[in-house]
Every structure is written in structure tokens, then in C-alpha cells.
Symmetry: C2
Subunit: 224 residues, 2 copies
């Protein structure tokens, strides 16, 4: 009689995590701008919690590279310089290469199907005006590859690197003239996996990433 009392205890999340996710989203979407101060009391009242979970969330953002805090002066949304971007891209380039090598070896048939579906979803999204959806489906496409690499540590690190450029990348994707190229590149990537051609894939991934650099750089220049 009481078996359905097993309530949803598993969807409990500490407030610090809720706050963390909220702030993270806000930063990535640009609602909180680079350089903007993160004042504890302000955020606390805005989110309807006390300062304690805010502070813990800020510590987490800090380690994610999304916030910077100066002792006794408080935290602010991390700014990225052009050099920072260059550095992150350099790293991500290397990690993307590793990811395709691993994924090429380890991708299951199911994952390959998933990849083709993700490709389709992205293509569909570009036909809408929903930039958010476009960005998400693009990310999802790459997520499949990273998951196929079957290396959670790698996935984490790539995600954190990705996250650091995300804010700027958003602007890049707003420009519809790049859709055709992105779609073409995704198709080529699928082709590469079909043939399990590692060297080819490494090259493509590199190009794919490099294409973003100038656009993102542009956005960064404007910021300052």
C-alpha cells in the first residue's frame, strides 16, 4: 500500500548546485557579462537563498574558470583576453585530436547512428531562427564524439575548455552565413568516422575549430 511513497529523493540537489547551474547558465548565455561583479548579497536576494550556497557556488565557478575572485574585493565574471582564447584553442585542438583517435577506435554502431541523428538535428535547427537550438544541437553533435571516446576524464576537460569559449562562440553562431560550412564539416566528420580514417578526422576537427577562431576573436576585441 505504501510502495508509491518512495518519493523523488533522487532529484534533490543542494542549493549550491542549483545556484552554480543558474549562474553558470547566466554567464554562458551572456546574461552576466565578463567583468560584471558577483555580489553575494545581491545574488542571494535575487535567487531567494542565503549567502552560504552562493559562496560555495562561486568557489565552483572559480575552478571552472568562469569567475575570478580577489580576496576581500569579491568575485567577478571572468574576462578572456585574446591570448587566453588562443591558449584554450591550442589545448582544445590537442584534446579534440585525442578524442577522435579514441572515438575512432571505440565508437559503437549505436553511437554512429546517434552521430548521424545529431547531424540531422543540427541541420534542422539551422533552418529555424532559434540560435539557442542551433548552438545546442551543434554541441550535442560533438558530445556524441566525446562520449564515444569513452574517456570521462577527457570529456570533463574538453567540456571545461569548451565552456570557456562558449560565451563568445554564441555570437559566432548567430551569423547564418556560416551554417552551410558547419553542416558540410559535420558531414565530412561523419564520413571520416564511416571510413575510420583517423588522420583525416584529426585534420577536419582542426579546421572545424580553426574556423571559429577569427570570429570569436572579433567578439573578444569588441568586449574591451
Amino acid at each position: 500500500m505504501t510502495e508509491n511513497l518512495t518519493l523523488q529523493m533522487d532529484d534533490y540537489l543542494p542549493l549550491r548546485d542549483v545556484v552554480f547551474n543558474t549562474l553558470r547558465e547566466a554567464i554562458l548565455k551572456g546574461e552576466l557579462k565578463p567583468g560584471e561583479r558577483l555580489m553575494e548579497m545581491h545574488l542571494a536576494t535575487k535567487l531567494g537563498v542565503s549567502r552560504t550556497p552562493i559562496r560555495e557556488a562561486i568557489r565552483m565557478l572559480e575552478h571552472e574558470g568562469l569567475a575570478v575572485t580577489i580576496p576581500r574585493k569579491g568575485a567577478q565574471v571572468a574576462k578572456m583576453t585574446e591570448k587566453d582564447l588562443q591558449d584554450v584553442l591550442e589545448v582544445r585542438d590537442a584534446l579534440d585530436a585525442l578524442a577522435v583517435v579514441c572515438a575512432c577506435e571505440r565508437m559503437t554502431d549505436a553511437q554512429f547512428v546517434e552521430l548521424k541523428e545529431a547531424m540531422k538535428a543540427f541541420e534542422d535547427a539551422t533552418r529555424t531562427d532559434d540560435v539557442r537550438k542551433i548552438v545546442e544541437t551543434d554541441e550535442a553533435f560533438h558530445d556524441v564524439i566525446y562520449a564515444a571516446a569513452a574517456n570521462p576524464k577527457l570529456e570533463n576537460i574538453i567540456n571545461s575548455a569548451r565552456e570557456q569559449m562558449y560565451r563568445y562562440r554564441y555570437e559566432y553562431v548567430k551569423n547564418p552565413s556560416v551554417y552551410a560550412q558547419l553542416i558540410a564539416e559535420h558531414k565530412t566528420i561523419i564520413d571520416g568516422f564511416d571510413r575510420r580514417d583517423v588522420e583525416f578526422l584529426k585534420k577536419i576537427m582542426h579546421t572545424h575549430l580553426a574556423n571559429q577562431i577569427n570570429a570569436v576573436r572579433e567578439v573578444i576585441r569588441e568586449q574591451k
Copy 2:
């Protein structure tokens, strides 16, 4: 008369950072063992602070991969499985390769001198019984290379990967029979930089890392 009153206001560190460093050290040195619970009150009284900075430090350890917390149950020192180690090594291998490519391009003469000095310091350290000093000088040698890569983001990520194996690596270095090999490899690395031979360096770094795998794997097996 009063010019030397300028006191050291710059060495202030929030307690959370002090606690973070303390716990981090303790974990890396093995004083806090994998799986050991990190109880807030216990740590707080032991370190003579309140729970607040402890909690913030734990959030930081968490994001460093050194602690894992389960909501409402508390944090514990992160355990590493063999698979985790494999994964981290795979990543580090790729990043090391990137680091030597960058360092090869960008290493200054001063840094090359530094590298040779670090080599010497390590060689000296192996002649003592001070395992701590041996580990430190070995790390310092690699630090010079990473610094020469002139990519702080890369440096950060490598450090965090490095940190995750550090605990296990400690055991490896305790065995004096590996010193000779390590010294030889360091010499070869210097040689590679002298000739700016990127491909050669990539290979050497890979070997250098691979040599540690089995030893560390052994230690991990014992743990469980």
C-alpha cells in the same frame, strides 16, 4: 624614519585557501587516504577554524578531482580506479605532446639554462634519501618545460591531471632502482630541446610517462 613600516599586507590569504592548500597537500602526500571521509566538524576543530572555510575548501578540492561528495552524506578523498588512471594518462600524454611542441618553439635561452639546472638538482636529490625532495625536483624539471610552453591554460590543465596521479606516483619514486632511468630520460629530453627536435621529444615524453604506468597501476591495485 618610518619607511620600513611598510608591512606585509600582501601575504593575507583567506582561510578557505589556507585550508584548501593544507588538505590538498595532505591528500597528495597520502596523509589523507583515498576513500577517507572528510568530516567538516572534525577538520574544523583539527585546523582551528569554523566549518565555513572547510566547506568552501571542499568545493575547491571537488573541482580539482581530489574529493568526491555525495549530497547529505559528505565528502571523501577521491579514489582512483585503474580505468581512471588510464584515462588521465591518455589525456596527459596528449597534453605533454602539446607542451613539448610549444616549448620547443618558445623556450628562451634562460629557460633552457633553468632546465639544465633542474636536471642537476634532480640528479643531486636522487643521491639523498629524501623522497619528498626527489619528487619535488622531478616535478620542478617538468615545470620548467610546461612554463616554457607559455600557455597558462595548458599549464593549469596539465597540473590538474598531474595532481590526480601524484598520490600514486609518490610510491613509484620511492623505489631507488628507477632513478637511473629517470635521470637518463631527463638527459635525453634536454638533448632533444638542444636540437629542437620536436618529434624526438614527443616520443621521449611518451616513454617517460608510459614507464610510470605499470608502477602506478600496481599501487592502485593494492589500494582496493
